[in-house]
């Protein structure tokens, strides 16, 4: 079937909820309304109020309650309507969800899949365009994945919903309806922790995930037209991160560009750069180049295009690294 990412996540949720009756979808407006992005459309009428819960308007309550559900054997899929609203629930992630397995030496675990619509570029209001992956990566015990296409969205969600650990599932809003692609109707999983080499190449390793994998797909042919062979890696999973895949590629190309839409300082690009320094220093022909948002507050929609890395900036960054 040829579908967009919203449809892919929706159909995957239906398929998974039919497979496992312990899966419970919950959040603000996820039921009757089908979610503000319509990702959970139709689930309420199909599975009922007990499994598709329109919760009170409280992110802390949603995540706190989901924690208890998961501990007792349900598999909650809480939605945080916009990732920028999540700060008030962060303590449940850092203080409990991430560490319950450890602090009970495995006797209490909380497998759940938290859906976090993230990323900007859709001209949304303030607090609606955040990319906060790093704040979760800083807490041991959380898995973080970010699909970059409808088929990846389905496979990663299926894998997350059988994973024994809590998974934060980053949905790139700007890709929700950006394009359609062929997605299998059969159930399949994309393993968490494995990167996908989208395209092999020899000159520059280009590392992306989520929304920017798609943005960069358009840049790659342009760079190649100018004689730069790109190896494009879509991380898919940021925690655990597929370090061997990154290192293997950089050892081959000697050059690396990381693109993300989070701010530069302590964005995941910083960690990637540091790991490459530690493990592939002698292979490097150029410094690792981070093409990111600026270290400023995300501008209101009128000027947000100055903030996010655009194709022009990415292309010139790649060329600069290639010719260093």
């Amino acid at each position: 079937m040829r579908i967009n990412m919203v449809e892919a996540i929706n159909s995957a949720l239906v398929q998974e909820m039919e497979r496992d009756k312990d899966i419970v979808v919950m959040g603000e407006d996820v039921g009757v309304d089908g979610g503000v992005f319509r990702v959970t459309d139709g689930l309420y009428s199909k599975f009922g109020r007990e499994r598709v819960i329109d919760t009170p308007l409280s992110e802390a309550g949603i995540i706190g309650v989901a924690t208890g559900m998961a501990a007792l054997g349900l598999r909650p899929v809480p939605e945080i309507q916009f990732q920028g609203f999540e700060y008030v629930a962060y303590h449940h992630f850092a203080q409990h969800i991430a560490r319950l397995r450890n602090r009970t030496r495995g006797s209490v675990t909380v497998p759940m899949v938290v859906r976090l619509p993230y990323s900007g570029g859709i001209k949304a209001l303030e607090h609606h365009s955040e990319s906060l992956e790093t704040i979760y990566l800083h807490v041991p015990g959380l898995k973080v994945v970010a699909p970059s296409s409808p088929s990846e969205a389905k496979g990663l969600l299926a894998a997350a919903l059988v994973d024994p650990d809590p998974v934060l599932y980053f949905e790139p809003k700007r890709l929700y309806r950006a394009f359609k692609e062929e997605v299998s109707e059969e159930r399949y999983e994309i393993p968490i922790g494995k990167a996908n080499v989208l395209k092999e190449g020899n000159d520059v390793t280009l590392i992306t995930w989520g929304a920017y994998t798609h943005v960069c797909k358009d840049v790659v042919p342009e760079a190649e037209k100018q004689g730069v062979s790109i190896e494009h890696i879509d991380l898919r999973s940021l925690s655990p991160c597929d370090w061997p895949a990154i290192l293997k590629s950089v050892q081959k190309t000697g050059r690396c560009v990381v693109v993300h839409e989070a701010v530069k300082t302590l964005g995941f690009g910083a960690e990637i750069s540091a790991r490459i320094m530690e493990k592939a220093f002698l292979s490097l022909e150029a410094p690792v180049n981070r093409i990111t948002a600026w270290d400023i507050t995300i501008p209101y929609p009128k000027m947000e295009d100055y903030y996010f890395p655009d194709k022009k900036r990415i292309l010139s960054g790649i060329l600069e690294t290639a010719r260093y």
Partner: protein, 354 residues
């Protein structure tokens, strides 16, 4: 248009056993002798264990410890009011109740001696690991109660907190979600007068904590938290109600922490001797002892015997927990279900011979 009443509420205060051990005949829950004996023994054991923990901490054999003295009636009354299928969500103040739910004392010691193994609880105990952050256990308990209901298990959850915890958003979220989702939830707030040093009156302008329940459409009651008969019977009634799908309850148990918040503070700095003496007269164990004596269930020989038994249990537990050696590699093993290659490498670096 005449003004009409949009809402009206009231909060009861309940005490069954007064400070001198006299029972209110009309409220007497008429518990069997065997249960009265059990309540008393566990309270004595709790105090014996607590004193030992304090002594261990003072002599460097235990890390920071949160004493329970004065709150024995709440911990023991609550633990014995639960059914086996019910789930408990305690805080650091109630770790003793793990023992009543089946954990050996030496295992509880491990937590206070700085080892995660202290919270490796047998699943059949239906106990959540004690919460150190304030109030987070309340919403967790609501989710657990939802899971019980969803799975068709006739059981309820009981979550604990202190007066200070009612200032946290999580407390209010939990009460609100419990009401809206109609979960089998009971919330127990031990109002022991202080959140570390800050007195109850500086936490909230409300006359009672129990009345906060009314704002969320659930029941609330204030009880004498040093009266074990009242604690036991109130919680039991609330749990029965919750299991039967008849609603949620917030119980405010008024009590007093006789010792410090933890071994890291000095209560002399924030409260006076007269207040402590006032509460010493309302001691939960002393008044229950007087009651049992009046019923012919207590004697000096009985007291001597259970003190000796408690002491032996506690000493044996200390010896066992002090002999315990955790495997340091455990600190890496439970980050995820399966260790990542990256963590494997870091673990090797951590333990490689220098």
């Amino acid at each position: 248009m005449p003004i009409t009443k949009a809402f009206e509420g009231k909060i009861d205060y309940v005490q069954i056993l007064d400070k001198d051990g006299n029972i209110d005949q009309t409220l007497d829950p008429k518990l069997p002798d065997e249960l009265l004996d059990k309540l008393y023994r566990f309270m004595v054991l709790a105090r014996t264990w607590d004193k030992k923990c304090l002594a261990l901490q003072r002599t460097g054999r235990m890390y920071t410890y949160a004493p329970l003295e004065g709150q024995e009636a709440i911990i023991v009354g609550a633990a014995l009011a639960l059914n086996k299928e019910d789930w408990i969500f305690p805080t650091y103040r109630e770790s003793f109740l793990y023992h009543i739910r089946g954990a050996e004392l030496w295992k509880i010691n491990l937590g206070w001696m700085g080892m995660e193994d202290g919270l490796k609880l047998d699943k059949s105990m239906h106990c959540f690991p004690l919460a150190i952050p304030i109030a987070t256990q309340f919403p967790h308990s609501v989710g657990a109660a939802y899971a019980l209901k969803q799975k068709g298990i006739k059981a309820a959850t009981l979550s604990f907190g202190g007066d200070g915890s009612t200032s946290e958003g999580d407390f209010h979220d939990a009460l609100n979600f419990a009401g809206v989702l109609n979960t089998p939830s009971v919330f127990l707030v031990s109002n022991n007068g202080f959140a570390i040093s800050v007195p109850r009156k500086w936490q909230t302008k409300s006359e009672t904590i129990a009345q906060k329940a009314l704002a969320y459409g659930i029941k609330g009651v204030q009880i004498d938290g040093n009266d074990v008969l009242c604690v036991y019977s109130t919680i039991k009634r609330a749990l029965d109600m919750a299991r039967d799908g008849k609603g949620q309850m917030l119980i405010e148990a008024v009590t007093y922490r006789m010792g410090p918040h933890t071994t890291a503070d000095d209560p002399k700095k924030y409260r006076n001797e007269e207040e402590v003496a006032y509460w010493r007269e309302r001691d939960p164990i002393k008044r229950f002892q007087l009651y049992l004596k009046g019923r012919g269930l207590w004697s000096m020989e009985y007291e001597q015997r259970i003190l000796e038994e408690s002491s032996k249990l506690v000493e044996d537990a200390v010896a066992k927990s002090e002999a315990y050696q955790p495997d340091p590699k455990e600190i890496f093993r439970y980050v995820f279900a399966n260790m990542t290659p990256d963590l494997e490498e870091q673990m090797q670096q951590c333990f490689e011979k220098k």
